[in-house]
Every structure is written in C-alpha cells, then in structure tokens.
Amino acid sequence: MNTGDRLPPLEIPITRTLIVAGAIASRDYQDVHHDPESARQKGSPDIFMNILTTNGLVGRYVTDHFGPRAELRRVAIRLGAPNHPGDTMVLTGTVEEVDGDTATVRVAGTNGIGKHVTGTVTVRVPG
C-alpha cells in the first residue's frame, strides 16, 4: 500500500435492474429511480441511479481491492453526470495518502456522458 498506487478499474454495467435493485435495497422510493415517466416529467431522459447505490458501489470497489479485513472509515462522494440504464460506469482509484495502516483513496466513476462520481475513501487495512 503506497502513495500513487492505482486500483484496477472496475466496469459496472448500469442496468435498469441495478438501478431499481439498489434503490429498493436502500429503501429509496423516489420515483426518479424506478419510474421513467416521472423521471421525464422532472427533466431527466430516463430513471437514474440513486446516491446510496453509488455510495455502496464506491465502498465495494475499495474493499474489493484491499480485502475483507479492510475497514472503511470515511466515504465522501459528489455526483455529477447521472447513471442512466444502458450506460457503463468505470470506477478508477488512486492511493493519495498513506498514514500507517490507513490509506486515503481518490475514486472517480466515469460513464458515457461524463464523471458520475468523484470522491475520497479513507480505509484502514490492519497489517
């Protein structure tokens, strides 16, 4: 675990099923995450992924890399271009800082229309 380490990219197909399953698993029934007509009424071309799912995927991306002993300490994300069905998001990450057994990882998720998510994850990886 060293500053500058790059995490292998993770490709996530953004299916309608993933968007709806993530919304339900996070108990988020905002219509824009499951009802295309309501999404269009609110100016969006289709349903889009909710922030809790993005948060879960970012957490998974980091713990997948550092292994089951890794402990998430902080996840801070900002959303940009929405994840619509049919798109693919590619998560990438770089270790920005290492302090003892704790790393700060800068994560970005890019889809077909731009940057869906940028954020930082602080993770402790006991030696």
Binding site: S26, Y29, G43, V58
Partner: protein
C-alpha cells in the same frame, strides 16, 4: 419565482432562517440492523465481501443512511421546520430533488441486532444556483446515527431542490390585467413603486380601500394617501380548487387580508401551503412579478 433579483433575495433570506434548525428529531430506524437487508444490499451492489455474511457479519458501512430511510412509511421524526423548508421550495416551483453529495464517517461497526436512532440538523441552505437541471437551492443536512445510544457514524447529505429546466411546459397564459381608471390610477402607480397606498379622506380622516371617488363616511371628495406598513392578518380566505382558470394553478389561496391600518384587501396568500392558511394568521405584504408588465401586491405567511 422568476424575475426580480430582490424577490430572490427576500426568498433566500427566508430559506436561510432554517439553517441550524433540526431536520429530524430522534428518529428510530424502521428495523434494527439485520441480515436480510444486508443481503439485499450486497446482492444489488454485487458485493461479495465475506465480512458481510456469517455469524460475525458486519453491515457494509456504506449502508449507514439506509438504516434511517423511511421507505414508503410516514416520517414521524421529520421536524415541522424541515417540512416547511421543503414546502417553501416545492411551492416556489423547486419541486424536483436530486442528491448531490454524501459524506459519511464510520465510527463504530454495525452488526445485526443494533438498534438505530438518529438526529439530523439543517446545516445550510445555499443561495439560488443555476444548474444544468434548472435553477435551484442546495440543502445540506447532517445526521448523527447511533447504535444502542452510542454514536456509530455521521452522515452529511446535500440535495438540490430545483425547478426542472426541461419540464414539458404548456403555453403560459398571462394573468388578467388590472382595469386602471382615473379613480384608481394612484393605487397602481403606488404598486409600481412597491407601495401599497390606502386612500384617506381629508375631510374626516377615514381610511378606505379599495379606492373610491368619495368618502363613504362623510361624502367628501378630497383625499390623500397613506402607505400601508405591510403587516396584516388573514381575516378570511378561500382555497380555489376548481375550476382552473388560465394563468392560475389550483389549489391556491385567495385571502381577505386585514391590514394593520384597519382596511381589508383581497389578494393571494403565497409561500404558505394552501392547506396551512388559517384565519388570524399573520401575513406580510410583498410584491410579486408575474410577467414583464404585471406586479401585484400579495401576502406571505409570517413566522413569529
């Protein structure tokens, strides 16, 4: 809400007043931390981390907010202040919502059986922002999440409440124009200067509204004006549901407002949900622009 900058400023300062107020007062998680919800989450995320299964399972830390979600049920923990703030934004056309930021700190692992409680505060409300989705306001809340009474994590959440820029819009009808004649021209000249003018009989001093050529008390035709302070109360009101008229979007409130000066005026009561308007409710005058040539005196609710 469109048009004049001072209208936005006035609205923004009303929104700002909610900063620091609680958004949720000791909410209780609908379910304790539990294996089925963890499993559903991991299935959706494609997360096969073994830490989330088995006898010593922990919950994925990123589920922090999920334990506080009301789902389709009522939110008894949500405060009147937060409802009011969202109501003001909805009513002003910023009725669409999208989450933009989520910052979570995890202080203690959550395990099946942990009972969740949480408190939330409205941390900030931004000024009006232009975004790709449409003009809107960012509302940031901070939630402390406890497990068995012990702080387990903090969750800062930012949403954008916006007026969709691309909403399919029916052609916009304009409100009817006021009929201006020599008996009431002075009133409309006052409105143009953002003054609400009441006629005063120079014979007997009686105030009158609406404007008339002569005094109902003494018959005198001479008058001058006094400017209304803008304070008033709802003397009576109706809520229009049906039929819809062009340029009016029901339901909306038409109030008979008793001004502090004692005379009464009919106008809209705005920025208060139609079903929250009550007789005796304090209101304050404001001037609202409806199109490039029409400004009307209307009344907004006052929190005292």
């Amino acid at each position: 809400m469109n048009g004049e900058p001072e209208v936005h400023e006035e609205f923004e300062s009303r929104l700002k007043a909610y900063e620091g107020r609680p958004a949720a007062a000791t909410g209780v998680g609908r379910d304790p931390v539990n294996e089925p919800m963890i499993r559903h989450w991991c299935e959706a995320m494609g997360d096969t981390n073994p830490a989330y299964t088995g006898p010593d399972a922990i919950a994925p830390p990123t589920m922090l907010q999920a334990w506080t979600m009301a789902g389709l049920s009522r939110r008894p923990e949500r405060t009147a202040a937060y409802d009011e703030l969202l109501g003001l934004l909805d009513e002003s056309g910023h009725d669409a919502v999208v989450a933009t930021d989520c910052e979570q700190e995890y202080l203690r692992l959550l395990r099946p059986g942990d009972e969740i409680t949480f408190d939330s505060v409205i941390e900030s409300v931004s000024g009006r922002k232009t975004t790709k989705l449409g003009p809107g306001y960012f509302v940031t809340t901070r939630t402390d999440i406890r497990a068995g009474g012990e702080l387990a994590g903090t969750h800062r959440f930012r949403i954008l409440k916006y007026a969709p820029a691309r909403r399919p819009q029916p052609p916009r009808e304009r409100r009817p124009r006021p009929v201006v004649n020599r008996d009431n021209a002075g009133f409309w000249e006052g409105v143009a200067r953002h003054e609400l003018l009441i006629q005063r009989c120079t014979g007997c001093g009686t105030l009158r509204f609406p404007w008339l050529p002569g005094c109902n008390s003494c018959g005198c035709a001479e008058w001058d004006t006094v400017e209304a302070s803008g304070e008033g109360t709802v003397y009576s009101y109706v809520v229009m549901h049906h039929p819809p008229f062009p340029a009016f979007e029901p339901p909306y409130t038409v109030g008979l407002i008793e001004l502090a000066e004692g005379v009464r005026i009919i106008s809209n009561v705005v920025e208060v949900p139609y079903d929250k308007v009550r007789v005796g409710m304090p209101v304050r005058l404001c001037f609202r622009r409806y199109d490039d040539e029409l400004v009307l005196p209307v009344f907004q609710g006052v929190t005292r």
